[in-house]
């Protein structure tokens, strides 16, 4: 097991290095970081522009710049933005914001999705199963940015009916939150409800579809009948033998969905005004900042690979057929 993990990790490190090099070169080739200076009116003196170019290392070839960047990253320094702020501090701050936004929504969504999917499979072709299937297909076909806006519209209706600002839909907190820990907590929850719901809805729809199919595969197997014949109650047979087996193929899906989580959150962050990682990437592209973009790519690559590793471990732990050398 250890050798297998070490081999995997080595492969991942190589993958990450190549991925970050590709992103770095691509961004360096495509971006014109001096544009914001050149387009200023009146145009700054040439000396200022040259100084900025030298500061960003634009006079050196891209591999040298990448080498410089890697030397910094090894020490935990992701360089500076064009404006001169350190990327590392901002990255950590933004990861915190993104996590506060994502954790509840994705965990709740995943759990409910799995439960709903398994339930639908058990009640295949009943009315409830049909309704769930249709609804999940509808949600899957609706882009995040449409769901978010529809929720805002609905929340607005509720707010105006109730006459109080029950749901908030911009930012993480109100700028004028009145003191007291309890008030601030309530304020945060008010801001969290809509984006969490947006994220959870997508997760529920996606997972329930996969879980339903996985569960249906399992329910047709002989061992479920054996378990029932042995005298287990229906519930016990379905949960202990059915659901546990049906969860195995989902492990891979969990990993890939974490990959999509941070990119998917771009829309949620942008619409609800949360200043998280996804929003920062869009800013980085808009300001033509190679360091921001590469740092986020690396971060997202690390999350994908960690999730992949985790799914391998879960898979090996859950499925006795998986034997690792």
């Amino acid at each position: 097991m250890t050798r297998f993990l070490v081999g995997r990790l080595l492969n991942y490190v190589v993958l990450l290095a190549v991925a970050s090099f590709l992103t770095f070169s691509l961004a360096s080739l495509q971006f014109e970081p001096l544009d914001s200076l050149l387009q200023r009116n009146p145009r700054p003196p040439q000396a200022v522009i040259d100084a900025k170019a030298a500061e960003l290392g634009l006079d050196k070839p891209i591999p040298v710049r990448y080498g410089h960047w890697v030397a910094g990253v090894v020490h935990g320094d992701f360089g500076k933005t064009i404006g001169g702020q350190p990327v590392t501090d901002e990255l950590w701050r933004r990861i915190g914001v993104s996590l506060r936004l994502l954790v509840i929504g994705s965990v709740v969504g995943t759990v409910i999705g799995v439960v709903v999917g398994a339930w639908g499979a058990i009640r295949q072709y009943h009315l409830s199963d049909r309704v769930i299937t249709v609804l999940s297909l509808l949600v899957i076909s609706t882009p995040v940015f449409v769901i978010a806006n529809l929720l805002i519209l609905a929340a607005l209706r509720v707010n105006s009916v109730l006459g109080v600002q029950l749901f908030e839909y911009t930012g993480e907190t109100s700028p004028d939150a009145i003191g007291g820990a309890w008030n601030q907590f309530v304020d945060r929850v008010q801001h969290l409800v809509l984006p969490t719901f947006t994220l959870a809805l997508g997760a529920i729809a996606g997972y329930s579809r996969y879980q339903r199919n996985a569960m249906l595969d399992v329910l047709g197997q002989d061992f479920i009948r054996t378990a029932r014949a042995k005298g287990l109650t229906r519930r016990r047979a379905l949960f202990k033998h059915g659901l546990r087996t049906a969860l195995i193929p989902m492990a891979t899906l969990f990993a890939y969905s974490i990959a999509g989580l941070f990119t998917g959150a771009v829309f949620t962050e942008k619409i609800f005004g949360w200043h998280g990682v996804g929003e920062w990437f869009i800013q980085g592209v808009a300001t033509q900042d190679t360091n921001i973009v590469t740092a986020i790519t690396l971060f997202s690559g690390v999350t994908i690979l960690l999730a992949g590793l985790l799914s391998d471990v879960i898979y090996a732990a859950l499925d006795p057929r998986v034997r690792v050398r």
């Binding site: 691509l26 971006f31 295949q124 509808l138 882009p143 449409v146 805002i152 519209l153 771009v266 592209v285």
Partner: protein
């Protein structure tokens, strides 16, 4: 999965079935698809929408660039059926224009990415060895870099050129399908008919084209149909963030982005393009599901639960 596709079925000779009237696989699949009402309705709806978005604009009184200064931010009325936006542009004309772009991109991207997936998957699965390792490593690499973010970097310089957008979206959306095709190819490689063809001296490429591809065709077709929805989602997402189609041209994504700004005050600017988008993707998904059920009935357990 499915049996090898052979046009002439010789086993029917003794069974008394009229060979001429014996249903071919294609007919069977087609019949199974027709029995799926939602899928058929969706397919018809998609075709109608596709034709409408190209045929309607010339006969409408307003073009998507026209500004009607007497109707700014007007709700839907008899003159402007979908209402107008802040500039006085007719939303019906704009939505149709956006549909043209989004649907064209969706279909092209789905086809191109499926062709890449089929090529990579069959080569990696059939030959194995270093070709397999190299190709799968590239797939791993492309799955690690967040493709959506890379596209935004590159697409900046292309100034909303639709061809570039199609190429980029296709280049980053074939990886998972290619893995599925590879897995199927690997199991097909061990089958008797492939081995027989190889021992008879048929060249590798001929084996792939004649024996492997027809047998993975069902998954390829299903994949193309489901990729249409995904491609449209990706394109509208990019355009929504301002990285796809650039103004003055419009896509459903840019229209929804416009509508988002005033969703609380002028909801129709958002609601019409958004509902059209959802309708298109929903139909594409339903057609894909229908094709899956028709082509690959084993993929979904259709048997009833035993009580």
């Amino acid at each position: 999965m499915s049996e090898p596709v052979t046009a002439d079925t010789t086993t029917t000779a003794k069974s008394g079935v009229d060979v001429a009237r014996f249903a071919s696989r294609r007919t069977l699949v087609w019949r199974r698809f027709l029995r799926n009402k939602p899928a058929v309705v969706s397919l018809i709806l998609l075709v109608v929408l596709f034709i409408a978005c190209y045929a309607l604009p010339p006969v409408l009184p307003y073009s998507y660039t026209d500004l009607d200064f007497y109707a700014l931010q007007q709700p839907p009325n008899s003159d402007h059926w979908f209402g107008t936006n802040a500039l006085g542009q007719d939303l019906l004309a704009q939505t149709l224009r956006g549909m043209q772009k989004s649907m064209l991109i969706g279909v092209c991207v789905a086809f191109i990415s499926t062709i890449i997936a089929a090529t990579v998957g069959t080569i990696a699965g059939y030959f194995g060895g270093w070709r397999d390792r190299t190709l799968m490593w590239i797939v791993d690499l492309m799955l690690v870099v967040p493709s959506f973010l890379l596209i935004t970097i590159v697409v900046q310089r292309t100034k909303g050129d639709i061809v570039w957008l199609i190429v980029l979206l296709a280049a980053f959306s074939w990886m998972i399908s290619s893995r599925i095709v590879r897995g199927m190819t690997m199991s097909l490689r061990e089958r008797e008919f492939v081995a027989a063809a190889r021992y008879m001296g048929v060249s590798n490429w001929r084996v792939i084209v004649r024996h492997i591809v027809p047998n993975v065709a069902s998954i390829i077709i299903i994949d193309t149909a489901l990729n249409v929805g995904l491609a449209i989602l990706a394109e509208t997402g990019l355009s929504f963030l301002g990285f796809g189609i650039q103004p003055p041209d419009v896509s459903l994504g840019t229209l929804i982005a416009d509508g988002t700004k005033s969703v609380t005050t002028f909801p129709w600017v958002f609601l019409f393009p958004a509902s059209i988008l959802v309708l298109i993707i929903l139909c594409a998904n339903l057609v894909g599901d229908g094709l899956r059920d028709a082509l690959d009935p084993g993929a979904r357990p259709l048997r009833r639960r035993r009580k």
